[in-house]
């Protein structure tokens, strides 16, 4: 597979992944660009025996996101049990924004595991390879993330289009 073929096949997914993690289009573009530039500069780093190209690219993108986050928020941290929420959430706000905000409030490791599993369709073993953790750890992060979201999103189940689904 040539670099261009890899780009055509995977750049949309990498961009989506970066966007969901960082919440900003400009940063997601930078990450996607840097991810594929890294692949072009160091083609030897991808070892087909260890995983497919998609897993490798997501692993690079994930590291770039974490580096960007560290650079920008060197003096901050995200607590494990984050429970704050903005009180002025408007009732007519789109469900998409509500879900985005809830996921953004998850701890970083849980958030990336959830996004990889729910939105990019990776298997647990692949996620474990991307985030460099054991499968059991990934499973636990995923479970905790889902439990939190179940609690946090419960008040919004009757919002917007979702109202019709729940009836």
């Amino acid at each position: 597979m040539t670099a261009e073929q890899a780009f055509d096949e995977h750049h949309r997914a990498v961009y989506r992944f970066a966007y969901r993690l960082l919440g900003r289009a400009d940063l997601a573009e930078d990450i996607t660009q840097d991810c594929f530039l890294s692949m072009l500069r160091h083609p030897q780093r991808w070892d087909a025996a260890r995983g497919d190209m998609r897993t490798y690219l997501f692993s690079v993108a994930r590291n770039l996101v974490r580096k960007r986050y560290r650079d920008e928020h060197a003096d901050s941290y995200v607590e494990e049990d984050w429970a704050v929420s903005l009180a002025d959430r408007k009732a007519d706000q789109e469900i998409s924004a509500v879900v985005a905000q809830a996921i953004a409030q998850l701890p970083d490791l849980q958030r990336e595991a959830l996004i990889l599993f729910e939105y990019e369709g990776f298997q647990l073993a692949e996620i474990a390879q991307i985030v460099e953790a054991d499968i059991g750890v990934v499973k636990s992060r995923l479970h905790r993330a889902r439990q939190r979201l179940k609690r946090w999103l419960a008040p919004y189940r009757k919002m917007g289009a979702y109202e019709n689904v729940c009836k």
């Binding site: 670099a3 261009e4 780009f7 750049h11 949309r12 961009y15 989506r16 966007y19 969901r20 919440g23 900003r24 289009a25 400009d26 997601a28 573009e29 996607t32 660009q33 594929f36 530039l37 072009l40 500069r41 928020h73 003096d75 901050s76 941290y77 995200v78 984050w82 429970a83 704050v84 929420s85 903005l86 009180a87 002025d88 959430r89 408007k90 007519d92 706000q93 998409s96 924004a97 879900v99 905000q101 996921i103 953004a104 409030q105 729910e118 939105y119 889902r146 439990q147 979201l149 179940k150 609690r151 946090w152 999103l153 419960a154 008040p155 919004y156 189940r157 289009a161 979702y162 689904v165």
Partner: protein, 311 residues
């Protein structure tokens, strides 16, 4: 903090909600940015490798001695050459040839600014008497004696003392002041510091910050995303409230600026016993991932509930 309802979504409901989160597509020009950049060449140059390992000490000393000899010979040659009368005379001659006098023009202070020069239309006679064109700060059309019929007529002008520009036609529609004043502020009309009209600090119109009519920061919702807290400090309990075993919730109104910092914190629903102040102190140190509008961070107004509970 505000707590959500006790009930939880089931797996199916959660999956349904998660599927509602849509994100924009990657821009079409990303490929060009990756593949048309010159970074295809490796950024790191290959490490320079010595072909024959370390140079032995004896060889290094020999090289040093040869180098010293060559330098000494060169210096001696120059010394001997300059002893020669012929060379000295030649150098003197060269010195005269390349001599540059230390000349600087004397600058005279202008007593009064003068006018510009005239043009002409390549006619043999001097210019005839006539009325001077109007003065203007910028010239679009030079003065001509015979003006051809233009499609878009522009009166000829000369650039000279510009007429006074008054703001009598522009002002703040909200103002009750009559007369002719631009207001005490800078850059716009009014008392603010932006390029707009009114007492605000932005490019809009009205009191407040930011753009748009009415000024003010943006409100969350629609195109403006919600800021996400990334750093928080738990508020401390005040001594009075602890003794009184007092608990409750303070509602604060804050502005989260484009850098994610909080400012303009006001108590909307007070709790008392010093807890309001404690809540303000804590929230003033919180940091947010700022609200985004069209991909750019913007300042937004938000309300935050800070709960005080004694265990």
């Amino acid at each position: 903090m505000r707590t959500f309802a006790n009930e939880e979504l089931n797996d199916w409901e959660l999956n349904e909600m998660l599927s509602q989160w849509t994100v924009p597509e990657a821009p079409a020009d990303l490929k060009a940015r990756v593949f048309l950049r010159p970074q295809h060449t490796p950024l790191r140059l290959p490490t320079f490798a010595l072909a024959a390992g370390a140079v032995p000490m004896s060889q290094r000393m020999k090289s040093g001695a040869v180098s010293m000899l060559i330098h000494a010979a060169a210096v001696a040659l120059l010394f001997i050459a300059f002893q020669s009368k012929t060379v000295q005379n030649k150098v003197k001659d060269l010195g005269h040839l390349v001599y540059i006098p230390n000349w600087q023009p004397k600058l005279r202070a202008m007593q009064k600014a003068g006018g510009g020069g005239g043009g002409g239309q390549k006619m043999p006679e001097p210019v005839a008497k006539g009325a001077a064109p109007k003065f203007a700060p910028k010239q679009f059309m030079p003065p001509m004696q015979a003006i051809p019929q233009p499609k878009l007529p522009v009166a000829p002008t000369i650039t000279a003392q510009a007429p006074q520009i008054t703001a009598e036609l522009y002002g703040d529609p909200l103002s009750k002041v009559l007369g002719n004043s631009g207001g005490p502020g800078t850059n716009g009309l009014g008392a603010g510091s932006g390029n707009g009209i009114g007492d605000g600090n932005g490019n809009g119109y009205g009191p407040g910050h930011g753009g748009g009519v009415g000024g003010g920061v943006y409100q969350i919702g629609g195109e403006v995303s919600t800021p996400v807290p990334i750093y928080k400090i738990e508020p401390e309990y005040s001594e009075e409230a602890r003794k009184a075993k007092y608990s409750g919730t303070v509602l604060l109104s804050i502005i989260i600026d484009a850098d994610g910092n909080t400012r303009d914190i006001h108590v909307v629903r007070p709790l008392g016993l010093g807890l309001d102040q404690k809540a303000i102190e804590a929230v003033s140190k919180w940091r947010f991932r700022p609200a985004m509008r069209n991909g750019r961070p913007v300042a937004v107004q938000a309300q935050i509930e800070v709960s005080f509970r004694l265990l």
